[in-house]
Point group: C2
Chain length 163, copies 2
Amino acid sequence: MQTETASSNEERYQVRKLEITDKNKGFMELLQQLTVCDSVSDEVFQKRFEELKSNGDDHIICVIEDVSRSKIVATGSVFIEKKFVWSCGKAEHIEDVVVDSSARGMQLGKKVIGFLADHARSMGCYKVILDCSAVVDVGGGFLIVDVGGDLAGGKIERFDEVV
Amino acid sequence: MQTETASSNEERYQVRKLEITDKNKGFMELLQQLTVCDSVSDEVFQKRFEELKSNGDDHIICVIEDVSRSKIVATGSVFIEKKFVWSCGKAEHIEDVVVDSSARGMQLGKKVIGFLADHARSMGCYKVILDCSAVVDVGGGFLIVDVGGDLAGGKIERFDEVV
């Protein structure tokens, strides 16, 4: 039974990159649970979406859609900083992680950060930094994480201890 | 006398953006005082320099040159993050601030951060975030600042309280 539920959740909660139609699936309303996020016009949204898209893999936004409701229930963003330190290395910054209040308790926040950390690995980053205030779920409850600086110190696996 | 000294220091310590020739003026050796920063070839340096340059005003590096010695004695970098929150606002992240051990006590770190905060203002950022570990000078001594998250909360003037 447990396997069936896990499999069914896998299908129901789809992890992917932000799409422009997500504005109509509650993406901005979700961000309002994190911080100030007034509604914006479709034009303003589209302009920002295109700006980010032009950065390619250097700035991506992960979302989780509850396909049974066509609703975005979790998100997190990430951008790659190109540095001179660490032999001209790259660091990944995770920002603005939030899970919808109706969907906490299923470790969707962990999925979002896992998606973004995998991105860091694929981009060859030497570290991942969780800069943001994040509203994520931990086990059966939820937790507001308000930290800065390195959580990882080169070991992005350490995120597992945090979320 | 004090005015003459201030004026003479103004000429001696020139605040500007990073130039490609700064590699020969001790830029990488300065970063070694902050964190791991192995020397890199001119080609690797140039490639990273050009990558950052292609981002225009979205990622700049400030340096202070002691022109009497043709030596870079302070630096800090900044990048602009384009968000959806805050009505598709922009946040500025300050990183990798360091003042050379031979030049501490003259508030050059404050000058670097002031330069970068001015940049945030001109770019219309709603906040400035000091993510980094920074080695800066405070008054007659120096201080390692290891903080994350918002120092500013929309009021970048508050940096004056920090450095």
